[in-house]
């Protein structure tokens, strides 16, 4: 059956085809639609699906499922890999019992990512784990299936590393028939501390086992169709090695120039098919490595050539940008330079249109929160920002954000600033982010006797990534009613004495509370509770 699917939807279909039982993740852009889609279909498909409170717990939940014999899929955006890495590295050592695939979705050009232009391929080196890179929705489907097969065969989790232009690319996907199942599988945990417990001296044996597995996967990678060659190798002086969506840009660039240079498209980022690479590069004088963001492939391939004494010029980041995504124009211009081909495109004169920044939606409760805080705060107040819709506080017309880092980081940094200065500190965080990584920062603030004013913008949903439920909303991903964890109760239980929950639409109460709490000697928390405007409109319909 042929269907137009978003890359993320194709991953879901691939996982279903592979018989996935257990799905855990944390919503982020560009991966969020994977979990969202599972939330919609889980019950009907006999799958368990959850939004975990952060990516570390998400990975751990799937580890538990795998150790109990269930096939699992973990999904997260780039920065989630940082959060879960503490458990990812030992997981490489233990390996899995039932197959596990981990989706890590990067965002070159930072379209929806505040904190850095992270290239998560580096985690393959850090963890040793196998990593595949699809180029489009068809490969999202095929590679998810391949990743489950590899995981089963080699008893390791397999990482599928995607990018925004793959996750949010729509294209036609050829889907295979699959069995329908309606009942959820029940696993069984068979005790096996020899495999599941990392402790010295066993842990070093495990490392040896891991490295042996990776050697075997390298041989598998050599034979895999996921690494493929386009074009006739013997007739050209220049070859191209590429991966991910850059492959599609490269084909378009060649079509524009009327070129047909041979391309080695790598579906495996780790381990690389060394022999295949050697057999490819030795035919050319020059090889262009067309990869996005970091020059990992370039470095690896240059090292392979040196080792094998192959006289070929490996070009990459010397010609292509290390910052921002690639596209066919950038690759076309680079190929034109390399081959001496001329290409002319006539486009309309550009008229500079002032940038339209993301802004709070119409009716957003934060329209009440930010101006009041800004008005009441004394001069020189430091404003901490965090990830989520509240980070729009840093943009015009609000301009009230003095630092922005990672999920929950406002808590720790605000505490540090407060301890280091005599300035007032107001730290702003959303409800979802509070549960993700804010709580530990809050506990540290209390424990170490700091006194920033913490404002939790509780809009009753994880809004920015597409309105996902969180522990404060009373619902989970599969739509079950669950205990609503109240942020004010968490704060009080941690020992915060100055806690107030209010509706920011009540301006006077909001103003008075901010004024009062700014004078406190110990930490204060104001929970501004009002539903996201988009969600409120949807609920009305």
């Amino acid at each position: 059956m042929k269907k137009v699917l978003l890359g993320n939807e194709a991953i879901v279909q691939g996982a279903l085809k592979s018989g996935v039982d257990f799905v855990s993740g944390y919503p982020g852009c560009p991966s969020a639609e994977i979990g969202d889609e599972f939330g919609r279909i889980a019950e009907k498909e006999g799958v368990y699906a959850e939004w975990s409170i952060n990516e570390k717990v998400a990975l751990e939940a799937s580890i538990g499922a795998s150790f109990s014999g269930l096939k699992s899929l973990v999904n997260m955006k780039s920065f989630g890999a940082n959060v879960c890495s503490d458990s990812l590295l030992p997981l490489a050592y233990t390996g899995i019992k039932a197959p596990m695939v981990i989706i890590i979705a990067d965002d070159p050009s930072c379209y929806s990512s505040a904190q850095s232009e992270q290239d998560s391929r580096g985690f393959a080196y850090l963890s040793h784990l196998p990593m595949l890179e699809p180029a489009d929705p068809q490969e999202c489907y095929d590679f998810t299936i391949l990743a489950f097969e590899m995981s089963e065969k080699f008893k390791l989790p397999v990482i599928l590393r995607t990018t925004t232009r793959v996750n949010h690319q729509r294209a036609i996907v050829q889907l295979e028939e699959r069995e329908n199942r309606t009942n959820r599988n029940v696993g069984q945990f068979v005790k096996n501390p020899h495999q599941f417990c990392t402790m010295p001296p066993r842990v070093l044996e495990m490392k040896k086992e891991l490295l042996e597995k990776i050697n075997k996967i390298e041989s598998f990678s050599e034979k895999s169709k996921a690494n493929k060659i386009n074009g006739k190798v013997n007739s050209a002086k220049i070859g191209i090695i590429t991966s991910g969506v850059s492959y599609l840009h490269t084909i378009s660039a060649q079509n524009d120039l009327g070129l047909n240079l041979p391309i080695l498209k790598l579906g495996f980022f780790h381990p690389l098919p060394k022999k295949k690479i050697i057999n490819f590069v030795k035919n050319f004088k020059k090889v262009l490595i067309a990869e996005e963001v970091e020059g990992y492939l370039q470095k690896e391939i240059a090292a392979i050539c040196k080792e094998e004494n192959i006289k070929v010029e490996i070009l990459g980041k010397d010609l292509l940008p290390e910052i921002g995504e690639l596209n066919s124009e950038i690759i076309r211009d680079t190929l034109a330079k390399l081959t001496g081909k001329k290409y002319k495109i006539e486009n309309l004169k550009t008229i500079v249109t002032p940038k339209r920044y993301p802004r709070l939606c119409e009716g957003c409760p934060y329209w009440n929160i930010f101006p009041i805080i800004k008005r009441i705060a004394p001069e020189n107040t430091v404003f901490g920002g965090d990830i989520g819709c509240n980070m729009i506080a840093g943009l015009p017309p609000h301009n009230m954000q003095d630092y922005l880092f990672s999920m929950g980081a406002s808590m720790g940094i605000s505490h540090g600033v407060k301890k280091s200065t005599t300035q007032k500190v107001i730290s702003i965080i959303g409800d979802g982010t509070f549960f993700h990584a804010g709580i530990s920062g809050l506990i540290n603030t209390i424990y170490n006797k700091s006194n920033p004013l913490i404002i939790v913008c509780d809009n009753r949903i994880t809004a920015m990534t597409g309105h996902q439920q969180n522990p404060g909303t009373g619902k989970n991903l599969m739509g079950e009613d669950v205990i609503e964890i109240k942020i004010e109760e968490v704060a009080r239980a941690c020992g915060v004495k100055n806690v107030k929950t209010l509706d920011p639409i009540n301006k006077e109460e909001m103003e008075n509370t901010v004024k009062e709490f700014l004078e406190k000697d110990d930490v204060s928390v104001i929970i501004c509770k009002r539903i996201c405007a988009i969600l409120a409109r949807r609920q009305k319909q």
Binding site: S328, L348, I351, T353
Partner: protein
């Protein structure tokens, strides 16, 4: 169709662009084309500029359209349509909803319209009152995208048939909203 048909669809987050791209892609599939598009979600959607690339043809490769090679700029908002003129060449058609979502630091509406007229020229510029018509006739401004698409189909600005687009809507739009969307599509033919 010899080469790919390239559409830059542009507007502001919340204007229903994701639904519209799904309909166009599905209609492309129904017509037997290869189809590829690229969209953005998340932060960029929150009231910011949204620029979606859509390609269909015999065999589509890169999901992104190069500067100067768009066949059609399908603009749901005037300033955003002007912004995406970088993708246009001298033959590119601009089908634009005469609707402005004002923003801090943005150009005045008259300046945007004058710039568009100067830049694109009479023959290629279609300025359509999609928002106004949908608000007046259906009390739903958000259907302006579907109306704009129907305009493109009826005037043969886009190589998709009316039947394919309606079938695509039937395949994709939840039943609850389907009739309303079909009505918005039919307005141009009434």
């Amino acid at each position: 169709m010899k080469k790919d048909f390239n559409i830059i669809m542009t507007g502001v987050g919340g204007q229903g662009l994701i639904t519209l791209v799904s309909i166009i892609d599905e209609a492309g599939l129904i017509e037997g084309y290869d189809v590829r598009s690229s969209e953005l979600h998340g932060l960029s959607q929150r009231g910011g500029s949204v620029e979606i690339h859509i390609k269909f043809g015999q065999k589509v490769n890169s999901p992104l359209i190069s500067k100067g090679t768009a066949d059609l700029i399908l603009g749901l908002e005037i300033s955003e349509s002007l912004r995406s003129s970088v993708f246009a060449g001298s033959k590119t058609k601009f089908l634009i909803n005469n609707h402005s979502v004002v923003y801090l630091g943005g150009l005045p509406v008259d300046d945007v319209l004058t710039s568009l007229q100067k830049l694109v020229g009479k023959d290629n510029l279609y300025l359509v009152e999609a928002s106004k018509v949908c608000q007046e006739k259906l009390d739903k401004e958000v259907l302006s995208g579907v109306y704009l698409l129907s305009y493109a189909v009826s005037k043969k600005i886009i190589p998709l048939s009316k039947e394919s687009v309606i079938k695509a809507m039937e395949n994709l739009i939840p039943e609850k909203y389907l009739e309303l969307n079909k009505k918005a599509f039919q307005l141009i033919y009434d």
